[in-house]
Amino acid sequence: MTLLLESLFNGAAIGSVLLIAALGLAIVFGLMGVINLAHGELMMLGAYTTYVVQSFFKLPLLEPLFGGYIFVAVVVAFLVSGLVGLLLERSVIRRLYGRPLETLLATWGVSLILQQFVRTVPLAWSTGLWLAAMVALAGPLVGNRLWGLRQRPWLLRLGSWVVAAAVGVAAAGWIRGAMPKLARASARNVDVTAPRWLRGGLDLGDWTLPIPRLVIIGLTILAVVAVYWFLNRSLWGLRIRAVTQNRTMSDCLGIPTQTVDALTFGVGSGLAGVAGVAVSLLGSVGPNVGGDYIVGCFMVVVLGGVGNLWGAVVASAGIGVLTDVIGAGRLLEVWPQMPARLQQGVEFFATTSMARVLVFALIVLVLQVRPAGLFPQRGRMAEV
């Protein structure tokens, strides 16, 4: 019984990481039909954001609040990755709608650039750049209300650019002074230290539940519920679904389809940022962190059935439990007297690498039987 529970928990732990990473992809790929190979790199940005936020919380002023930096990081990471995603959509993806193969290649190019960007540009400057972009975006909104600049849009635009640049440079300069570790560009991985309460385990008799895993499972549930609510209960969610189902008709009905595209992509990218925060609790944070997850994410989406949130949930849970059962050789524990030949087979696959091989091979096999995933969309296929 304990074994079953333990396996379920471990499966849930592995699966929840996959799911939170795949959630944004499920939206972008499932609803927009866009293959975003830079999704992993958007996660990486989220992980780096966690590092920067953590560095702020190590300053004397914020030190007492260190335990809570993770909550700030979740919000900021969503904004950072969301903003980068938004820029990506406006500048590149928009030109490529209806050409998924080209999108795939373009986003791969973006992922290379993002990777090399964090290697060569000091975090202090990246932070400044992000702040400047946020100000430049928010400037017109605020300026419109405050100073009645509505009549002179050029002045407003110029003003917000100037303010944005000033804020960016000032912030970068200050960070360089205050946090020397962020002043140097480096290809090295950075150290994200979880606060004390997030590091231990929860003792349940002879069984310890790792707290980071619990937090990630919680965060994943929260994210899934939020996405579900956003898509099915909010106005913009309704618009997104409408555009997904019939773009031309939605356009005729006055839905701003371009804004919907940008919003969908932005939200999907933002979720990648949140996944980045989660991942930083488990492993290292470096330029390559995204590559570890990207194919797994796509498998979750494809296996679950494109455009199906619950499919992704079931698929990631399934992959998680299978990985644990195969990788930790659980069958041997349940059935110690199995025939020698079978035992050899189980042991052959009971390593992390072979578990991966087997799980992926199984996915490909499942797709043979159900080419559209476990939960295919029924009825008339949506047209992009």
Partner: protein
């Protein structure tokens, strides 16, 4: 300073990719050693002083690229020597290149042994200079002395071979290995391994860790949250964690675990402090030094000494001259042995909360290197001696 001539050497480490984290420090420290030598008058051959310059190539954490760039340095740039490599896989990829072109590689990392190339000088530790004393320490003196062992490593040649040796050694010591598992390079999902360790070692024990680079981060973070901590009698002895890695993993996760090296930054001798201070002055006060860096630093000086003793840049003359060369290294005196390895001092340290090591034991003087392992049955009784043409790579003692 006026020089009569220049000589260009090759530097070949990963400046990009997963290994860049560790390997770029070697390239930095090699350049520092070269600059120090130049400041002291360069290399003198035939009464002429040579300024050392370097040609640097990026191995890009990719073994075929290492082979390609090694070819380039040898054929295209005609360098007399290449300082390079980190992973055993990269060394194994470069070995055929250096042997087929009869060129010269200096390799700075502790490794699994079972190799003794005529064309490579190994300035890192062999298993009997790191792994074996470390395992013996865990079995006899550590807080988990006598408890069973679990072996964890990245899935490539060094962990696999090193663990084969460890198993043979523990068998002869009377210890018990209850499990081993390997994580593919680039994969950081360690949950199944943690589950296995928990099942195999219900009451604590010693874990021998040969994971590489950033996989350690995931491993130690999740060990701690699964409750596999020193307080609960789970002690990890790592072969690839030094001060630089502590800096990126975070000392919170590593405190009280062990590591075995020849050099620690905490060594309290003038030579050691001078080395660390020079590095900090050049690359930043917040930087740290570690064993692979010390080894990379030493090998540049050893090469210089070999060239000056041979009075030539010619590979074959330097190769012969190098044997017997001594150097007062940051770790203490070292000497090049006939098997192209180096006699070094062995130390075992415990991680302190401030990210350094507390040195627990130090061997009585330098220990002679064994290229061929004496626990592993297939190589037992063999040795390597390049000073005698009849003995060479592998001969029966």
């Amino acid at each position: 300073m006026e020089f009569d001539d220049t000589v260009a050497v090759g530097i070949l480490h990963s400046l990009s990719g997963t290994m860049a984290i560790s390997e770029s420090t070697l390239s930095e420290v090699e350049k520092m050693a070269i600059e120090e030598i130049n400041a002291a008058g360069g290399v003198t051959v035939d009464g002429k002083s040579h300024e050392i310059t370097w040609i640097e190539e990026d191995g890009a954490s990719d073994w075929p690229t290492f082979a390609e760039k090694a070819k380039k340095l040898i054929d295209q740039d005609q360098v007399p020597v290449v300082f390079g490599g980190w992973t055993s896989a990269s060394r194994k990829a470069m070995l055929p290149v250096f042997e087929s072109k009869d060129a010269f590689l200096y390799y700075p990392i502790q490794y699994e042994g079972q190799e003794c190339s005529r064309n490579i000088f190994y300035t890192g530790a062999t298993p009997n200079q790191q792994a074996e004393p470390a395992v013996e320490f865990m079995f006899k003196e550590s807080p988990v002395a006598g408890k069973p062992f679990f072996l964890v490593g990245s899935d490539y040649v060094f962990p696999r071979t090193s663990n084969t040796i460890t198993k043979a050694q523990l068998e002869s010591l009377g210890g018990e290995v209850v499990g081993e598992d390997y994580l593919p390079l680039g994969n950081t999902e360690v949950a199944p391994i943690i589950a296995k360790i928990k099942n195999a070692l219900p009451d604590g024990g010693a874990i021998i860790n040969t994971l590489n680079g950033d996989q350690n981060v995931a491993f130690f973070k999740q060990m701690q949250s699964a409750g596999l901590t020193p307080e609960n009698d789970y002690y990890v002895m790592s072969f690839s964690i030094a001060e630089v890695e502590i800096d990126t993993i975070g000392p919170e996760y590593l405190a009280d675990h062990f590591a075995a090296w020849n050099f620690f930054q905490a060594i309290d001798t003038p030579a050691s402090q001078k080395f660390t201070e020079a590095f900090k002055a050049k690359y930043g006060e917040d930087r740290v030094t570690n064993d692979p860096m010390e080894s990379a630093y030493n090998m540049v000086y050893l090469w210089k000494a070999g060239v000056e003793k041979a009075n030539s840049f010619d590979d074959n003359l330097v190769r012969e001259a190098l044997i017997g060369v001594t150097f007062d290294a940051p770790q203490g005196p070292i000497e090049v042995m006939p098997n192209h390895h180096i006699s070094q001092t062995v130390r075992i340290g415990q991680v302190t909360p401030d990210g350094q090591f507390e040195i627990l034991t130090t061997s009585d003087g330098p220990i002679a290197p064994q290229a061929w392992n004496q626990f592993e049955p297939s190589s037992k009784g063999y040795a390597c001696d390049w000073s005698d043409p009849d003995k060479g790579e592998k001969y029966l003692l």
